[in-house]
């Protein structure tokens, strides 16, 4: 693929994401329509008169046709106006702005853990397919997927954070060092359930690459040592996992929602669960939108990465 071809590939993929984004916006908007209860009644309180309710409806634009409401909604989203929290004290956009870095750091650290754990175990397991190490790792991996993330978080708190005092018992930090320290245990808890999936894919990729004709041909041509491992094993074994990347990040994001609650990390996930507990509609709607767009973006990046790594992908 030439540089130009890649450029067009990225552009086309971006264009393809637009209708999907619109569908997601429509779905998130439609949440308002299926949520039980009259929004005007919630704003005005149970004792409001019919006239007050009607005034509020007009004020909220609820008297307009649905499609126009959707257009207005799009307009508000475009300007970053997602409403305020139920108490009216905070803008939802502010909440999202403060929670995003927390969740991003958590995702980044757990991605590093996931890749390191999966990479190391995959290399170990692939050394002798069906050997002792391979079978042991497979059993542990199958086990790891079944361990609830939040419970593992609690075990890490009780077993590591409390006895050693090296990590905070919960909450976030305010300097890079304290932030990283606060992220270590939740990220570890997250990785344990995701790493096995990546490991399985990497392992079979490595085994397949080592059995391949191009590996033998490279050896016959005198390629050996690290060059052989890097360019004729790892590079090839990385293609299937990279195509899994979007799905894995989604898994991590999903787990982060729960693990943020366990560790009291002030991220988007904690906001989501708290909003669900408090029935805070605007927050839920805003966060759902953010998560949806994040998923679209992650899939976009994943596709582009695959195209960069595997030249056979159609341009």
């Amino acid at each position: 693929m030439t540089g130009r071809g890649r450029f067009w590939f990225v552009g086309r993929r971006l264009l393809q994401a637009i209708p999907l984004t619109l569908v997601l916006l429509l779905l998130v908007f439609a949440m308002l329509k299926v949520v039980p209860g009259d929004p005007a009644l919630q704003v005005a309180g149970p004792r409001a008169s019919a006239a007050t309710l009607q005034a509020i409806r007009v004020h909220l634009g609820l008297d307009q046709p649905v499609w126009l409401q959707f257009v207005h909604y799009l307009g508000r989203v475009a300007t970053g106006d997602l409403g305020t929290t139920a108490t009216g004290s905070t803008k939802v956009s502010t909440l999202i702005a403060s929670g995003t870095p927390v969740t991003l750091v958590l995702l980044a650290v757990s991605t590093v853990f996931t890749v390191v754990i999966a990479g190391a175990t995959a290399l170990l397991a692939a050394r002798r397919p069906d050997g002792l190490a391979d079978r042991l790792i497979n059993v542990v991996a199958a086990f790891g997927v079944g361990v609830p993330t939040f419970w593992l978080g609690i075990v890490l708190l009780a077993g590591v954070a409390l006895p050693t005092g090296a990590f905070p018992i919960g909450g976030w930090g305010d300097t890079p060092a304290t932030v990283l320290r606060a992220a270590v245990l939740p990220a570890l808890a997250l990785s344990v359930s995701v790493a096995p999936v990546l490991m399985a894919s990497l392992r079979s990729g490595i085994v397949e690459a080592r059995r391949s004709e191009y590996h033998a041909a490279a050896q016959a041509a005198g390629v050996r040592g690290w060059t052989l491992t890097r360019r004729f094993v790892l590079r090839n074994a990385a293609v299937p996992p990279v195509s899994l990347l979007a799905a894995l990040t989604t898994l991590l994001l999903s787990g982060a929602v729960v693990v943020e609650s366990t560790f009291g990390l002030p991220g988007l996930g904690l906001s989501l669960t708290q909003a669900a507990q408090n029935r805070d509609f605007n927050v839920i709607q805003g966060l759902t939108l953010v998560f949806s767009l994040a998923v679209v973006a992650v899939n976009l990046v994943g596709d582009v990465l695959v195209a960069l790594l595997d030249p056979r992908v159609e341009v």
Binding site: G146, V147, P148, T149, W151, I154, A158, L162, A247, T273
Partner: protein, 279 residues
């Protein structure tokens, strides 16, 4: 969901799978039976609060210790199995049925219905499952019913893809064409030819989906969005014990072991089923 199943399907292992299958099934049955006789088995009433017996560590008397209200944790863990296991089974079975129906529909109905079903599947599969679950529970209100709806919405996709694949393959085969020519309706063809081909794999999926459903239920309850007190559920117990983690770790940790035990049992069943079906 399909991701998790990648793990279990790595290679055909030796053995018929009967031992694994029986072991897993016996474990689950025992756990379920114990949930009905929790009081008698442990000698403690799971609901009895005894403030003089708060936070007893695990001993021969209280195997898993006691909680902040002096209740026996072991008895409560057993009772909770009566909530968790049936709901997890349902949480795996409901989406399987829905997915099979929708998959058959998508396979037979060429044109926009099929496309719509599969696009919907893409959309749901791309979405983080916990977020989907939490949003649905928010819309429907907390409780077992919302959990079931959430599980169904998230998990039907795998089955739909599987069944649709089988339908698409079979409708090219001669015997289905012959069956149709012989005047059998779609329903008959579906029941006689499509289901028998798709069912074995669907059963394996459903078996491993039990773990997934259980972890969804436990996580929801842990977040206060699932089973509410006075109902007893493992995730909810873990949440209740978390404030006392510093000195009374057992209140939170023990219910988690039950979840892991179910995970192991289910994995044995799924693995055993798969090996039997491969032969």
């Amino acid at each position: 969901m399909a991701l998790v199943q990648v793990l279990g399907r790595r290679r055909a292992r030796r053995g018929s799978g009967a031992t694994a299958l029986v072991t897993g099934a016996v474990l689950l049955t025992l756990l379920l039976a114990a949930s009905f006789a929790a009081g008698a088995l442990t000698g403690h009433d799971p609901a009895l609060t005894d403030l003089t017996a708060r936070f007893r560590p695990p001993t021969a008397e209280h195997w898993f210790g006691t909680d902040q209200l002096g209740r026996d944790v072991f008895a409560r863990v057993l009772v909770a199995a009566g909530t968790d296991l049936p709901l997890a089974l349902l949480g795996a079975a409901v989406p399987a049925v829905i997915g099979i129906v929708l998959g058959a529909l998508a396979g037979y109905a060429r044109g926009w219905i099929g496309t719509a079903v599969m696009r919907l599947a893409d959309l749901i599969q791309a979405f983080p499952s916990y977020i989907l679950l939490i949003v649905l529970v928010f819309l429907l209100g907390p409780g077992a019913g919302s959990f079931l709806v959430g599980a169904a919405v998230g998990a039907w996709v795998t089955y739909a893809r599987l069944v649709r694949g089988v339908v698409l393959r079979l409708r090219e085969l001669d015997y289905v064409r012959a069956a149709q020519a012989a005047g059998l309706g779609h329903t008959r063809v579906l029941l006689r030819h499509v289901l028998p081909n798709a069912l074995p794999q669907a059963v394996v999926y459903a078996a491993s989906d039990i773990v997934l459903a259980l972890s969804y239920l436990a996580a929801l309850s842990y977040l206060g969005l699932g089973i509410q007190a006075p109902g007893i559920e493992w995730g909810q117990m873990i949440a209740e014990g978390q404030p006392f983690l510093r000195n009374q770790w057992w209140v939170s940790v023990m219910p988690g072991l039950a979840i892991i035990l179910v995970g192991v049992a289910v994995r044995l069943i799924a693995g055993g089923l798969e090996r039997r079906l491969q032969r």
